[in-house]
């Protein structure tokens, strides 16, 4: 319907008297050309260069990269940390959005500000916060050392840093969606005798599922690709604490360009996949605000 209206408006505009002068048609194509050129230089060229460089020494060299045990361990570490971070952040997103969208309470805007914070803070600072907390000279540094627990320069640190950087995505997607959809259906379900869990799983979840998927894939993409925060807390120990983005940096700094871009090509494919899922979610009619 809305699309039909837009089409009609476009069609009307196209036939408007005095509209298609040489100047306006020229301007239109100039603007389109400028847009495309800008995006080609800044987006398409780098994307293409990832694959061109990765395959510059042939398929064999490309595949060899993934035979390297360090590369494999980086991929494994990335997957493991995402496997922990994404479900936890999804859980947080659901809880936070339910609490914020369904209830009126004091301090709500403070909670919202805290949720927005990681998006506004430099990833380096995000990582630094945990170094200050768990690092050797940090608050818990000595206590952790005494008990022989390592967080910084180890897997827990990476997971915590990724969690911090990506926890807003699910919540930010769900809160406005739940607010917009309102409480009527949930209240109806409750008055008909449905329990809390039943209301949540049978009424709320189906309503917000596209927003949830959207938030989860974004959270996943950002978690796997996080560089700055993880870089600060991981310590860059080859084969132990480097995730894929960190491994790219290591390979790149060793002038192993094929290797660096081969790993990068995997993450690029992940990004493309994320965009494809996002586009198909949008095609279901779900609209992001």
């Amino acid at each position: 319907m809305a699309l039909g209206v837009r089409l009609a408006a476009r069609e009307e505009l196209a036939t408007r008297p005095g509209r298609d002068t040489l100047l306006t048609v020229g301007l239109r194509w100039l603007l389109i050309a400028v847009s495309l050129a800008f995006l080609a230089a800044l987006l398409l060229a780098p994307l293409a260069t990832v694959f061109v460089t990765a395959f510059s020494h042939g398929l064999g060299a490309y595949l060899d990269t993934f035979d390297d045990p360090d590369t494999r361990s980086a991929i494994r570490l990335t997957l493991v940390s995402a496997a922990v971070v994404v479900p936890l952040n999804t859980l947080f997103g659901l809880a936070a959005s339910w609490c914020i969208a369904k209830f009126e309470f004091r301090g709500k805007s403070f909670l919202l500000t805290l949720i927005d914070l990681p998006l506004a803070v430099s990833p380096v600072i995000s990582g630094m916060l945990f170094v200050l907390l768990f690092g050797l000279q940090g608050w818990f540094g000595h206590w952790l050392q005494d008990h022989n627990i390592s967080i910084i320069f180890a897997l827990p640190g990476i997971i915590i840093a990724e969690m911090f950087v990506t926890f807003p995505y699910v919540a930010r997607e769900l809160i406005p969606l739940m607010q917009q959809l309102g409480n009527d259906e949930e209240e109806a379900a409750i008055t008909m005798g449905a329990g809390a869990w039943m209301t949540f799983f049978r009424v709320t979840l189906p309503k917000v599922r596209w927003g949830l998927i959207y938030g989860v894939i974004l959270c996943n993409a950002r978690a796997m690709g996080e560089f700055g925060a993880v870089s600060v807390v991981s310590g860059h120990i080859r084969g132990l604490t480097d995730t894929m983005p960190l491994h790219i940096e290591i390979l790149y700094n060793e002038y192993n360009f094929v290797g660096a871009f081969a790993v990068a090509s995997l993450l690029t494919l992940l990004a493309v996949l994320t965009l494809v899922i996002k586009t198909s979610v949008e095609r279901t009619g779900y609209k992001r605000r």
């Binding site: 990832v50 200050l132 209240e187 871009f261 993450l267």
Partner: protein
């Protein structure tokens, strides 16, 4: 439950559970580290703090970080507007694909865009070689930093502007046209003022994003102290030298600036709303 006192009654269940989990999660993950930062920075002697924060190297990094971010956001203001306008107003083959591609910098890991941009804009890269012919060196200079920050901020600008441009009512432009206004005049007097708040928001978002950016910049920046060293990198260097206090000092300066930026965005929002949405009567 103590929560009962400060929240309005509702028949919906689950407030205690979700509120408890949310506050616990946020306290552990956000408030606790923030407190650590504040204490760490606060435990410094005032003169030490000033020495770190206002050192020549720090000042040089601010100049680059904020200068390049400002330039990048300005570039995005121009090109982002053209792109958003093109996507909303014009029909051309491949429009939907281009629209989907806008989010790419957001989904792409920063390290990937960093090395990819560097190889494209290096002196022997696809684009860099043509610029080198004119004596323009992009990679490893402040120009490269600006290019990387432009890419990072682009989706924020375009995605903020798109709905705003789409919302400029056709009727308004039609009305202006029947009143005798030419297209340029309509654009200047009707379209621009309506889109202005969104432009400012987009600018602020892109700027804030760029100031904190790390991954995509360190590859293309030369990382030379005083010249091509961004503030986040300086923090990392302090951390690597186990100078936590210095890092915390620089970090708190950046945090304060981030807060100011967030505040600005909110002010712009409420200003734009107050101006355009019915309040009286």
């Amino acid at each position: 439950m103590p929560a009962e006192r400060f929240r309005q009654p509702s028949v919906l269940p689950g407030f205690g559970l979700t509120f408890g989990f949310t506050t616990f999660f946020l306290s552990a993950l956000v408030l606790l580290p923030l407190a650590a930062l504040a204490l760490m920075a606060g435990s410094m002697h005032w003169s030490d703090f000033v020495r770190v924060v206002l050192s020549a190297r720090a000042l040089g990094s601010y100049r680059l970080s904020f200068g390049a971010s400002f330039l990048a956001a300005t570039t995005n203001l121009a090109f982002g507007f053209v792109i958003a306008w093109t996507l909303v107003r014009y029909q051309f083959p491949g429009r939907k694909a281009v629209d989907a591609l806008i989010d790419m910098p957001f989904a792409l890991p920063t390290a990937v865009s960093g090395i990819a941009l560097t190889s494209v804009f290096a002196a022997n890269g696809w684009i860099g070689r043509y610029l080198a012919a004119f004596g323009i060196q992009v990679a490893y200079t402040w120009i490269g930093v600006t290019v990387a920050l432009t890419l990072i901020g682009m989706p924020f600008m375009v995605r903020t502007l798109q709905p705003a441009i789409a919302e400029v009512q056709r009727d308004l432009e039609d009305a202006a046209e029947t009143l005798g206004a030419g297209r340029l005049y309509v654009f200047r007097r009707i379209v621009l003022p309506t889109v202005l708040p969104a432009m400012l928001t987009g600018f602020t978002l892109a700027f804030a994003r760029a100031v904190g950016e790390y991954g995509s910049v360190i590859f293309i920046a030369g990382n030379l102290p005083m010249k091509t060293e961004i503030t986040p990198l300086l923090i990392v260097i302090h951390l690597q030298e186990f100078d936590y206090r210095g890092a915390a000092a620089l970090g708190s300066v950046m945090l304060v600036i981030s807060f100011v930026v967030l505040l600005t965005i909110n002010l712009i929002h409420s200003w734009g709303r107050r101006r355009l949405v019915a309040t009286a009567h």
